[in-house]
Amino acid sequence: MDKSNEEWTLIVKPKSNWLDLHLKDLWHYRDLVMLFVKRDFVSAYKQTILGPLWYIIQPILTAIMYSVIFGTIANIATPLPKFLFYLSSITMWNYFSESLNKTSNTFISNAQIFGKVYFPRLTVPLSIIISNLITFSIQLFVFIVVLIYYHFNKDASIAPNNHLFLLPVLILIMAGTGLGVGIIISSLTTKYRDLRFLIAFGVQLLMFATPVIYPLSSVTGLKRAVILANPLSSVIETFRYAFTGVGGCHWHYLAYSFGFMVVVLVIGILLFNKVEKSFMDTV
């Protein structure tokens, strides 16, 4: 390389290195990430009467619905009070599914802005993960309140244990997997719009392959193996175990989930980075 090349702050070529991630750029735009988070929050419940209360109402309504449909009508046995069981699953699962659903639309729903101005595109999915994390925190709080209520008033056998220290790891796995899969799909949807229709269906299917509406202990044999192959299963199980003492925590499965998250996230970031440069021509 000759000397004059060194002073350029930016060189843009048609084909760039897979590892040329511009992560420094992303750091410069950190304020934008937070502003996107704020935008999503402020705009989500404008002109609603209940406003942010919806963050609380949503999981509670879903848990009631699941209790009725899966617990009472389908009669799936749960080791915890039904409502509590479903609320615990939904709280964790929603974080993943919401993150995945929204990040997988990154390119298509932002094509208008992306076509007019450059900023690191990764800011958008990152902001989605963060704003969902806030939603998750609120819902986690609701879950804890319900948990305490059950503990003191319903005499349910609830035994929170030191696995609670794993909570940040569980959240990290959910966030990383949601982000990773989401940006892989959003990168592919620039070319294959089919995936948009598949994703809603896929997330639902995945939920049934995760111990969300049933405890892992109720499944045996081959089915159990399939469910454990799903990296999200151990996260849900561990989450429930940490708060209630029901279920179990298997370190090797959790390690598998963590490893899966790292791989998916790396592939996602590389692919996303490759696509973001020229997606305007194909979207």
Partner: protein, 423 residues
């Protein structure tokens, strides 16, 4: 002079029609065929994926190279589809070039649209922050300029109202105000000044020239030639994806405007013209129009026009008068110019004579004008040749000394008398 942008052989190709095959199944189908060593059933479509130029491709830019120096205000001129927006998109990093590369020194901010990322539900205040951050400003930068931005936009009263309640003018003003307070080393601006009312447009123009005077480098695309000629110091003319001229803004504008004018000239063979009167003893045979010693019949105000007029005499004649008539586009006569007006005498013509008539400081409004010629004996007033409308020349926009838009309906002659307040 420091070069801050170096564009090297940039080409951009777009596929026409359907992009890719669109569905996974067909791509897998093609891939499977390749694995088995068979012919791809989608070959015709997939050829378009190899990146080689095909009939189904559109070359938006081909081999574009130019340098931009620090402090340059570069105007990029061209017709619709010439590739102006594509080059701006590439420099803004919205898309990548197909071939070639560019290098930049310093922070580059682009303004291809005002109000990118404005969210209708958010208030003006919130949108200033959001939009500023999208354009690359840090939060504290925006905070420090917040009052200035609000002041410039003139929407102080509504700053805490959601922008969806704004009128379109207010919306655009707020959006431009944010953009105007960006302070990157290099600013890329697409046709965004044509927003708002005249007063606001002038304010924008003022802001732009203020920015350029601060030594900032600006790349600017507009169809407003008057604005371009005021702001820019340099021009690049793009035609069908090629840089056809790189030089001063005036010359670029002129080349651009003349390329879009469909007129005759600048040389006219007058010997064959049928529509003429007179004895025919003397005849105008040829007219050439020169601008700066080059054959050209397109001018801007202030330039010099030279007519080279050839007269052929079938027999020697003495004491002659030549008149030049200038008509407006609608053939209303604007001027009748005789040689005697300039104290120039034509004593005799024998065989062939060529006269050079120079108009210094041409001062007609932008429009096309027509020429007519007349020659007669001074004594007898006998007309030898009279051509009414036989040639034309064009006045174009973009004269640097003109400070306002000259409308065709506003007049024909541009005069600049001396003004003085005496009481």
């Amino acid at each position: 002079m420091k070069t801050v942008i170096k564009v090297e052989n940039i080409s951009k190709e777009y596929r026409l029609g359907e992009v890719g095959t669109g569905t996974i199944s067909r791509d897998i189908n093609g891939w499977w065929a390749k694995v088995r060593g068979k012919e791809n059933p989608n070959l015709k479509i997939n050829l378009a994926n190899t990146g080689k130029p095909q009939a189904s491709h559109h070359q938006a830019l081909s081999n574009v190279s130019f340098d931009v120096n620090e402090g340059d205000v570069l105007g990029i001129i061209g017709k619709n589809g010439a590739g102006k927006s594509t080059i701006l998109k590439i420099l803004s990093r919205v898309t990548t070039p197909t071939e070639g590369l560019f290098k930049v020194k310093g922070r580059i901010a682009s303004l291809l649209e005002v109000g990118t990322g404005f969210h209708p539900e958010l208030t003006g205040r919130e949108n200033i922050y959001l939009n500023g951050a999208i354009l690359g400003m840090r939060k504290n930068e925006i905070t420090s300029k917040f009052d200035e931005i609000v002041d410039f936009s003139g929407v102080e009263k509504f700053i805490d109202t959601p922008v969806k309640r704004y009128s379109s003018g207010m919306y655009v003003r707020l959006a431009f105000a944010v953009a105007a307070h960006l302070e990157p080393e290099i600013l890329v601006v697409d046709e965004v000044l044509a927003v708002g009312d005249i007063a606001f447009q002038n304010k924008c123009m003022g802001k732009m020239s203020e920015v350029s005077k601060n030594g900032r480098t600006i790349l600017f695309v507009s169809h407003n030639m008057q604005a371009m000629s005021h702001l820019c110091t340099r021009g690049i003319l793009l035609q069908n994806g090629l840089v056809t001229y790189d030089g001063t803004i005036q010359e670029s504008i002129k080349k651009y405007l003349s390329s879009s004018i469909d007129t005759t000239g600048p040389t006219y063979d007058l010997s064959e013209t049928r529509d003429r009167k007179g004895t025919g003893i003397l005849r105008f045979t040829k007219l050439e129009i020169y601008s700066n010693n080059e054959l050209c019949n397109n001018f801007i105000i202030g330039e010099e026009m030279e007519l080279r007029l050839t007269v052929k005499a079938t027999q020697a004649m003495r004491n002659l008068s030549i008149a030049i008539h200038i008509y407006r586009f609608d053939e209303i006569k604007l001027a009748n110019i005789e040689n005697i007006d300039s104290d120039f005498r034509i004593d005799s013509i024998e065989g062939e004579a060529v006269y050079s008539i120079k108009f210094k400081n041409l001062n007609f409004y932008p429009e096309s004008y027509k020429l007519g010629f007349w020659i007669a004996s001074t004594d007898s007033q006998e007309t030898h040749d009279h051509l009414t409308v036989c040639a034309e020349f064009n006045m174009m926009e973009g004269a640097p000394q003109v400070k306002r838009k000259l409308l065709k309906s506003g007049g024909s002659v541009y005069l600049t008398p001396d003004w003085k307040k005496i009481k």
